[in-house]
Structures are given as structure tokens and as C-alpha cells.
């Protein structure tokens, strides 16, 4: 019986050899794939081992990690979640992160190359110092005012956005998208609950997860007249130059005439450019646009930032929250010639013209800042976990120069007049000079109009302190006046608390 026993011994060795070979396959060949698999909970646990850094606004942390004692050691929480939701985003366990939580993820998590020194130090001291802190440019007061005023708007709009920037630097002072959402349930360690909360937000017809201030475009209506006015000023037309107006204008080839918002607006056949801006004269601007030509309008809009597809708002280098491109759209007939009717409509911000609230604020900011458009940014500083070393400090830089100083001066005068005696009176702030432009854009044949306001505030020395854009989606009658009022409040708050730069 010994021979079969020996053979059984060999068989056992072969079986164990198979086990050994298979373990080699799994633990050596497939190890990396399995280690980093999406299904591997250790990836998350490791991520939650180190305390994630804060995201701070004006010295207060609005995204903080709290120790839980559970398997995932830290829970991400967002005090005042809804107010800052679209800027901070959220850092969930299983879903994808968004906002600054996404764009500054490596630094917050402490895994960025910049923090290598800290990690090496940790290795020797045996401590876990956690991730770095991100300091934002936002002004607490402006942000909270924007959120409150937008959600409590007096025309009952349920969707909208507001953004305020410092015209001198491009630092974002406030950024709100309405409706907002509470990011806390999404960061829950109960992944099923987080998924349920996400699904609910995702299916909401009002799309609370969308960042309307940066990533959604709407027809800008009369706010676009500033672009057309800039083109006119560069083409030999002055503030006091008379342009054709009238109560009605029918462009060549158009079926329907363009009218003004009220019969009292520019019924006379000629008005000055200044009056046309102040009263928001549709017939005047439609004819002005047709006279200047589609290419001139499109080119001017492009110089203000329309058509840029790769703008991001975050740090001043790479990365950041994506910004949708604003568009002047198609103004051509099928044969390639200019569609004059479309051009007339485009000149008053209708037809296919689409703009993000950020683009509106950038137009106002360029005007206020003497024609220089500063690159918008949200991240002011990156601080080491121990808060002693700064790894990044924003150095504001010009993004583009859409108009000359002289044209900017003329536009500024006219916009100041809009708030002084025109359609934007509600934006006025005591002790500051405020300029702006209202806009009412048709949203569709049977739906209420969108209300817009773009504007800026200057201090007593004429230095610009804030530029803003407020948009109330389908706000209906009085929407643009309400947008002007909210814009004034936001700028007043930004003046009181300038935020970080």
C-alpha cells in the first residue's frame, strides 16, 4: 500500500502547488487591480483615515471633518450647508465629489504633491496631521445676503442665481444658485441613505444640484445691450449721438415688429445712445445692431468673454469649477448671409443669445474696472495642515481687455444713469454710486420672462468695489426690478465685508 500512499503525497503537493500558483496570481499579478478596485472599501477607509482639511470663508470653516470613532474615522459636515452648497460641493463616500471639494480634493485629503513634506514628517513623528486647508475669496455677508435675498425674492421665482465679484481682482464675493440643497445627507457614511438623498435631488425637476451661476445659460435680454453699446461706441457713436428709435421696428425680412417694454419708452424717432441705455430702448438697439452688423456684435461679445469654453473658477491656474460658454448663437440665413431679423433680436439679447450669470458679472466688472476684465477665482489661499505654511496665494491677473478705458468710461456713465434715473433704480446703495443694466428676457411663448440685472458699485473715489449679476428664472413681471434690488443688497453686503482676495 505504500506506492499509492506516496502517490497521494504527490497529489497533495500538486493540489497545494495549485493553491500557491493561484495565490501568486491574486496577490502578485492582480494585486494592484484588486487593491484599487472600486469595490474595495479600503480605498475609502484609507481616505477617511487622515483628517480632511477645512474649507474656510472669512475665518470660519464651512466644510469640516468630525471624528466619528467608526470604521470611517471622519465625517464630513457642512455647517450652513445650503448657503455654500454650490461653491463647496460635497465629498461623499461612494458618489463622486463636486465643487471645491472636488477641485481641491488632493490638497484637502493631504495627498497632493505639495504636501509631501508633511507626509514625510508624519512618517517620522508617527502623527497624522491631516489634509490642508482651503481659504476661499467669498464674503460671508455677501454670500448669506445673496442666498437669503434670492430665496426670499418678492416675485416668487423658484430658480435663479447670483454672483458677485471684486472688479479689481476677480475674486468671487458671492455665488449662489437657487434652489440649493443640503450637502450633509450626501456625505453620510450610510451609503444607502446618501444614494437615496442623491437620487431624490437628481430627480427633482428644479435641478437643485445644477450650479446655475456658472454652468447654466439663459437669454440675457437687455443686459446684452451693454455689449452692443460698447460696439457702437467703438464705431463712431458717442453717448450723445442720436440713433433711430421709435415705438416699433420691423427688421428686413422679419414677420413681427420689435416693440418696447412700454409705450412710454423711446416713442420718438431719434434718441441719444445714453437715453436708449437708460430707458432700455429695444427699437433703438435693434436698429443699432442691424447697422453695426452681426460680425461686429459677435466679435464684441467674444471680446467680453462669450464663446470661451475652458474658463474655470477655482485657483488662478489649472482646475476649478467649470463655466459654461456663453453664446451669441446663430444669426445667419441658411444661405450664409446675415439674418437681419435674427440680428435685430440678438441685439436686444434674444434669439439665440445665451449667457451665464458669471458672464453678466464679468461684463459689469470690466466696465467698472476701466475695461480690464480680471480672471475670476474662488481659492484665495492654500494653508498647510498646521496653518503655518502657505502653499498657494492667489495673484490676481487680467483675463482680457474687452474695451478701452475711454469706452469703459462711457459705458460706466451710461450704466450709472440707469440706476440714477432709469430702469435700475432699485439697485441704489446709500453712499456709493451704483451702475447697472436690467434685462427682461422672453423664456418662451407662454412662460414668464426671466429677470436680469448686471451692475457694479463704486466708492466715493470712483474705485469699483463689487460687480454683480442676479438672474431670476421665469420671474415674470417685475423680475428685473427685483433682480436690481437683490443686486443692490448683495453689493452693499460685499462693501461691508469685502471678503478675501
Amino acid at each position: 500500500m505504500n506506492a499509492p500512499l506516496r502517490r497521494v503525497g504527490v497529489v497533495v503537493m500538486i493540489l497545494f502547488g495549485l493553491l500557491f500558483a493561484n495565490l501568486n496570481w491574486i496577490q502578485a499579478y492582480k494585486a494592484d487591480e484588486y487593491r484599487n478596485s472600486d469595490y474595495n472599501g479600503r480605498v475609502q477607509v484609507a481616505e477617511y483615515e487622515r483628517k480632511r482639511g477645512n474649507i474656510e470663508v472669512g475665518g470660519t470653516a464651512y466644510a469640516i471633518s468630525k471624528e466619528t470613532g467608526g470604521k470611517l474615522r471622519f465625517l464630513r459636515t457642512y455647517p450652513k450647508g445650503e448657503v455654500y452648497a454650490h461653491v463647496l460641493g460635497y465629498k461623499p463616500v461612494n458618489l463622486g465629489e463636486t465643487g471645491i471639494e472636488r477641485t481641491e480634493n488632493d490638497f484637502l485629503a493631504g495627498t497632493s504633491d505639495q504636501l509631501i513634506g508633511n507626509r514625510v514628517k508624519d512618517m517620522f513623528t508617527g502623527e497624522e496631521t491631516g489634509g490642508g486647508n482651503v481659504l476661499l475669496t467669498l464674503s460671508k455677508r455677501a454670500q448669506e445676503t445673496a442666498y437669503r435675498q434670492l430665496t426670499d425674492n418678492q416675485v416668487g421665482a423658484s430658480k435663479g442665481a447670483a454672483i458677485a465679484i471684486d472688479p479689481r481682482t476677480g475674486a468671487v464675493q458671492a455665488l449662489v444658485s437657487m434652489p440649493s440643497f443640503d450637502p450633509n445627507p450626501l456625505a453620510s457614511h450610510d451609503t444607502t441613505a446618501a444614494q437615496t438623498a442623491y437620487n431624490k435631488l437628481d430627480k427633482d425637476p428644479n435641478r437643485p444640484l445644477a450650479n446655475r451661476a456658472l454652468a447654466e445659460t439663459l437669454p440675457p435680454g437687455s443686459t446684452f445691450k451693454i455689449v452692443v453699446a460698447a460696439a457702437a461706441l467703438e464705431n463712431g457713436i458717442g453717448q450723445q449721438t442720436s440713433i433711430p428709435a421709435g415705438s416699433s421696428y420691423t427688421a428686413p425680412g422679419a414677420g413681427k415688429p420689435i416693440k418696447n417694454a412700454a409705450p412710454s419708452i423711446c416713442p420718438e424717432p431719434q434718441v441719444t445712445l445714453r437715453e436708449a441705455v437708460t430707458e432700455s430702448c429695444n427699437t433703438g438697439f435693434a436698429q443699432l445692431g442691424v447697422r453695426l452688423g452681426a460680425d461686429t456684435i459677435k466679435e464684441k461679445a467674444r471680446q467680453f468673454g462669450f464663446e470661451q469654453e475652458d474658463l474655470t473658477v477655482g485657483q488662478l491656474g489649472e482646475g476649478g469649477l467649470p463655466v459654461a460658454a456663453s453664446r451669441t448663437g446663430d444669426i445667419q440665413n441658411p444661405d450664409g448671409s446675415t439674418d437681419q431679423a435674427a440680428l435685430a433680436q440678438s441685439s436686444i439679447g434674444q434669439n439665440n443669445v445665451r449667457m451665464t450669470p458669471l458672464q453678466g458679472a464679468l461684463i459689469a466688472a470690466s466696465v467698472a474696472n476701466g475695461g480690464s476684465q480680471m480672471r475670476p477665482y474662488l481659492v484665495r489661499q492654500l494653508l498647510a495642515p498646521d496653518r503655518t505654511t502657505s502653499y498657494y496665494t492667489a495673484k490676481p491677473r487680467e483675463l482680457r481687455r474687452p474695451v478701452s478705458g475711454q469706452v469703459a468710461g462711457d459705458l460706466r456713465d451710461m450704466m450709472l444713469n440707469v440706476v440714477k434715473e432709469g430702469t435700475g433704480r432699485k439697485a441704489a446703495i446709500d453712499g456709493y454710486t451704483v451702475g447697472g443694466k436690467t434685462g427682461t428676457a422672453q423664456s418662451g411663448p407662454d412662460t414668464p420672462d426671466h429677470g436680469w440685472f448686471i451692475g457694479f458699485a463704486l466708492d466715493r473715489n470712483g474705485t469699483p468695489v463689487s460687480a454683480v449679476c442676479v438672474e431670476l428664472e421665469r420671474a415674470g413681471s417685475g423680475g428685473s426690478a427685483e433682480a436690481a434690488r437683490i443686486a443692490g443688497r448683495i453689493m452693499a453686503a460685499a462693501i461691508a465685508d469685502a471678503g478675501g482676495r
Binding site: L18, Q27, A31, E33, G41
Partner: protein
Amino acid sequence: MTAAAVPAASPATTGEAAGARLARSRRNAELSLLLLAMVLVAAYGATVEANVLDTVTPDFWIPAAVLGLVFLGLHLVIRWLAPFADPALLPAVALLNGIGVGFLRRYDLAKAEPDQRETLAVFAGKGGSQLAWTLGAVILAAVLLAIMRDHRSLSRYAYTLGLAGIVLVMIPAVLPGRFSEVNGAKLWIIVPGLGQLQPGEFAKLALLAFFAYYLVRKREVLSLASRRVLGIDFPRGRDLGPVLVVWLISLLVLVFEKDLGTSLLYFGMFVVTLYIATERVSWLLIGLILFFGGAYLAYVLGSTVGGPFANFYDRAQIWLDPFAEPYDRGYQLVQGLLTLGTGGLFGAGPGGGQPTLLPEVQTDFIFAGIGEEIGLFGLSALLVVYLLIVERGLRAALAVRDSFGKLLAGGLAFTLGLQVFVIVGGISKLIPLTGQTTPFLSAGGSSLMANWLLIAVLLRVSDGARRPVTGGGPVARPAGSPPEQLHGAPTEVIRP
């Protein structure tokens, strides 16, 4: 026996005779190896504490010391009752058992609240109860060594054991699911409020003792009466009876207890003992064909008919592609693979992994849980320790002089190896996953006690094998026992 094997067997016999003349018990070697094993277990415990608690508590050595005392007790019993037993068996098993206790304690630390970790009592949690079970199992092994002074005495109770084995196998199948089913496998006897017992673990020993006895008696007719087909000697139809019975039993286990692993284990165990007894490859072929045929049939029936076969079909599907439903049916296996992969070559270090992420890490998946922390190198070492135990068992079978002892030790050693193959192969996706315990590592008293009993039998057989032929040694054959006839005879050489 084949012609080539005869000369091979002769030197072994002479070598054994030479060893017997020297009569070296090697008990001191056993003691030193045991101490080494316990030092390794203590070091494992210290590393775990350093990784989990960031400090090594002054009490880190206590579990290893308790284990050491328990094993030292068994060592003394062996010195007294089985002085010529194989000296490598006890230290090897003690190492595995100690690592098992250490890992379970490490699992308890991970489960405990952070502020209670440093004060976790020695007998608390899974690790503590495993420590207690170890004590019980080792006492049981010592008692078996004391009662069974000669392994041949087992053959007297062969039929009783065979019947007991079948009854033990059958009980969970006939019990209602609420008294027998855990995680989809009906393998248990659950006494509500008291605990649960896996009778199959013990049945395996009882059945093997019966097989060995039965086959020693029948081996001549099974090996001699044959028909030659294609150059291979096939047995006569009527001699196939017992094989078919066991095949049916194992298929019933597969279907009604929903456990492929146990069924594979019983059948493999029987076929291999049959092969050892008859030296006929045809039995292996018949066995393999029957098993794979049966498994394939169950798979096909599972996919078409469903019912009792559906469980097997499910498991086969998961095995073929665990990542198809990574959060659902494939969850366990996927997590097992990810755990092993995370361990990589060197592992995260004892205490450095995250065993709480792996379901069933204290039982079926303990090998993967340990693998995350000691890596491929550590797991290879564990496999070598298992292989060492199996091969030492087979060595005892080679050296022992009676047929019953050869079959018993050979069958037990192979069964142990096969069980390791079934479970480790299962969690590493080499074969479909089935719920088997990992011998000496998995939490659970039944498995631990049954496997320690198995080791006690191997110790007894190896003692019988290495004991000097003349002089009787310190332990004489029990007085008054009648001279053994068949199973007392020296190794017969049978020619086909």
C-alpha cells in the same frame, strides 16, 4: 503493488527498523519546535497590538502563554502516552492554532470600541472563545490518546463508527432548516439558546475509520477481481456497490445540505482510501468521473429545474464571474479576492489590515483575512505548514506496519489536505466557493475539536510506526487483548 514500488518500500522498512533500533523519541525536538511556535504566536500578538493600538500592552504575551501552557500539557501527555509520535505534528498544528487565535483576537480588537481595545480581556470575544475551545479540543485529543493506546483498537468499533458517521451526516439534512441552516448551508445542529454544532466535522473521522476497516477486509476482492478494459483494470459491477452508496450519500449531502465542499470532501476521502487500499488507478478514474458527472448534472439541473439544485448552480455562476454582481451574490468572493489582493506580496503587517470589511472573515474567509496582513509570503508559509502536517501524516502511514493504520493515517492526512484545498481554493476562486472551515484557523469549536482528534489519531499512528518493534517500548500492548489477526499483520505485498 507495482514492481517499481517494491524496492522503494524496502529501504523505507529498513530505515524504519534502524530508527527503531535507536529508539529516538525526539520529544525534545518537539518541545523546542513548540517553544519556537509559541514565540512566533507571541510576536504576532505584539505586532497586532503595535499596529492596532499604537502600543504594545504589558499583557500582550498572555494569550500566547495560555496557548503555550495548553500545548505544553499535550506535549507532556505525548511524552507519557505516545513517546515515539512524530515530533513535527504538534508544533506545526500549534503554530496554526496560535495564529488562528491571534487573528481572531485581532478581529475582536477591530470590532471593539476604540477606548475598550487596550483592556480587551484574554477570554473575551471570538479570540477568547477560540482560546477556550482550543483548551477543550486539546484535552479531547489527550483523552483520545489516553483511551486509544493502539490505533488498531479503533477497528473494533468500525461498524459503530460507520453508523454514527452516517447518522451525524444525516441529522442536519432531516432537521428543519431553523435547527440546521446557517448562511444557506444545512450543516448544523442548532440548539436554540445553547449553541451550534457541525456534526459533519466529526462524521468525517468516524466514516474514515469505518472506510479503513471495511477496505482492509475487502481489499483483496476489490483489487483482484477485475475486468481489463483499455489496459486499465476495472472492478466487477457488484463490487461497485459500496462506492455507489458513498457517492449517493455525498450527492445527497450536496443537494439537501446544500454543501458542495463537504460532499467533495467525503467523496474524495473515500475514493482515495479506496485507491490506497486497492492500488488501482481505475478507482480514481471512476471516482473522478462520478464526481464531476454528478456536479455537472447538478449544475444543469440547477439551471433548468432549480429547486434543491439551484444553490449549487448559483455558486457555480458566482465562481465563473464573481464581479458580475459585486454587491449582491458575488459580494463575499469579490471581497475575499480584494482582501487577498490588497495584502499583496508582503501584506499590511499583522493588525495593519481591515478584516472588518470582509464578511465571514472569522470563519470561511479567515485565510483571506490573514492574507491581507501577512501577504503572499506569509500565506505561502502557512500552506507549507499545512503541507508539512499532511506529509508527516502520510509519512506515518508509510511507516506503520498494519494495513488498517496505513489506511487510517493516509486517509486522515489526505482529508486534511483536501479540506485545506477546498476552502483555500474556494476563497481564491480556484474552485467554486463552499462553506468549509479552515482547519485550526477558523473560529468554531466543532472544527477545532474534530481536527485535534484527527491529529491525535495521526500522533497515535505515528507513535505506533516509530516505536521499536521489539521490547514493547514504554507503552506495551494492552494486556489481555487477544492477538490481532488481520489488522495486526505486517504490510502485505499484493500482486495483481
